[in-house]
């Protein structure tokens, strides 16, 4: 067994530097790597590019990095929940590359799987396709999109083992599996870190080969963005 465990978040983020490109899992605030984000805030590195479906809210998730002006560029599909984000974007402090959500996921998966690029119909005929190669297949038009290149991927899983194998929970899965192995170094934080052999190999979502460092996460807040309930009657 090849061991991937590191002592904690500080060791896990060893090597992160100003100007790097990071992938961060999560959809809204669901399944975000809370520990890695806190450590990036503490380290105070700047000029970073973040590939993440959303940009957090003002006081949680990637919003914490925005507050400290650590992010130079965001690559996201939807950024509507964050006033500070909007302010920085409109004032030109923050560069933003809006990407269709399925394309964003596939640019991660392509990087993971070794494809330099792929064709997708999403965005054809819109400003997203500006400057990109387009091509017809079977009478339909497609846009050529390139795989992401990133230095670190920070993902959050539910359970993991010493070998780096991961299992996700519910819709906290989202972009996390697509980002594993899609950057030079993948760092996984888990709610429950177990000895090798504790997880059933049949139920692994992401094999450990895609993960370089894994650690037991601490103090998960798991904030809910839109608490919607129905009444018992």
């Amino acid at each position: 067994m090849i061991k991937k465990t590191v002592s904690g978040v500080q060791e896990a983020l060893n090597g992160v530097q100003d100007g790097m490109t990071f992938m961060l899992g999560g959809f809204g605030l669901c399944g975000i790597p809370e520990n890695a984000i806190s450590e990036l805030v503490r380290l105070g590195i700047t000029d970073i590019t973040c590939i993440s479906n959303n940009a957090g809210v003002d006081d949680f998730g990637l919003g914490l990095l925005l507050q400290q002006h650590q992010i130079k560029k965001m690559i996201s599909s939807y950024v509507g929940e964050n006033d500070e984000f909007e302010r920085q974007m409109l004032s030109g402090e923050l560069e933003v590359e809006l990407t269709p959500q399925g394309t964003l996921a596939e640019k991660c998966r392509a990087a993971q799987a070794g494809f330099p690029a792929f064709y997708t119909p999403a965005g054809y005929g819109t400003e997203v396709a500006n400057g990109k190669e387009t091509r017809e297949f079977n009478g339909k038009m497609y846009v050529l999109e390139e795989a992401f290149k990133a230095d670190f991927a920070f993902v959050k899983a539910w359970k993991g083992d010493e070998a780096g194998n991961l299992i996700f929970k519910g819709t906290a899965r989202n972009f996390n599996p697509c980002m594993c192995g899609a950057a030079k170094i993948t760092v996984a934080e888990v709610e429950e870190l177990l000895p090798a052999g504790s997880l059933d190999p049949n139920e692994i979502h992401i094999p450990g080969i895609f993960v370089q460092r894994i650690f037991q996460g601490q103090h998960y807040e798991k904030r809910i963005e839109q608490r919607t309930v129905r009444q018992k009657n």
Binding site: G80, P121, T126, T228
Partner: protein
């Protein structure tokens, strides 16, 4: 004239037994409340769940189980979770039978704009561009006119496009229309709305053939 629930109720009649359906945020989300309960339908949410159920009871919310609107939800028997690339594989690969989404503008050639108002609102397209580019069966839920009374069914979209030539059907607060051959074809009127009123509220080319029935809700 229909309200938002009325639009959702009319669209629900388009949902057939055995359909996998993706519902957008806003009016489309309401459609789930009106689907007949004698048919089997599974709702897909692009953040990674198939077989979405109603909102949880108070105290049973789970931060790890949400829909694409970031609302806490539940799942029904037979549900599954999956990653974002798989989710858009379902959409791009045309495994989802029906997509229902909102629009700011639709043009007579089927172009749709619903993600950006330059200088005002730039939140992003989310999954809308993937959905409209791939879905074979798209229904747009929208208001026929804006708050100033101007038509949102246009000759040509004025806002940045989400997709080209993709809308086939619209259910508005005034009418049901089919979009084909570079025109809006009037199929049904909302209760109490006349063909004349619909003509006045539609800037794009409107085809009215024969007697137009009133919607049955």
């Amino acid at each position: 004239m229909l309200d938002k629930n009325g639009i959702a109720k009319r669209i629900a009649k388009e949902v057939k037994d055995g359909y996998y359906v993706n519902l957008g945020i806003g009016i489309p989300t309401l459609v789930a409340n009106f689907v007949r309960n004698d048919i089997e339908v599974e709702f897909q949410s692009e953040n990674g769940v198939l077989g979405m159920g109603p909102f949880p009871f108070e105290g049973e919310e789970d931060a790890d189980i949400i829909n694409a609107g970031k609302q806490t939800i539940t799942t029904l028997p037979g549900a599954s979770f999956f990653d974002s690339a798989t989710s858009f594989g379902m959409i791009r690969g045309q495994h989802v039978d029906l997509t229902i989404l909102g629009a700011m503008e639709v043009a007579e050639n089927g172009d749709i704009a619903n993600w950006k108002i330059p200088g005002k609102m730039v939140k992003g397209m989310g999954g809308a561009m993937d959905l409209v580019a791939s879905a074979e069966n798209i229904i747009v839920a929208m208001m026929h006119t804006n708050k100033a009374g101007q038509s949102k069914l246009l000759k040509k979209c004025t806002l940045p496009l989400t997709g080209v030539g993709c809308v086939k059907k619209i259910v508005s607060n005034m009418a049901v229309l089919e979009v084909r051959d570079n025109a809006f074809h009037l199929l049904e009127r909302a209760p109490g709305v006349s063909v004349e009123e619909i003509k006045k509220a539609t800037e794009g080319k409107l085809i009215v053939e024969g007697t137009i029935p009133e919607m049955v809700l």
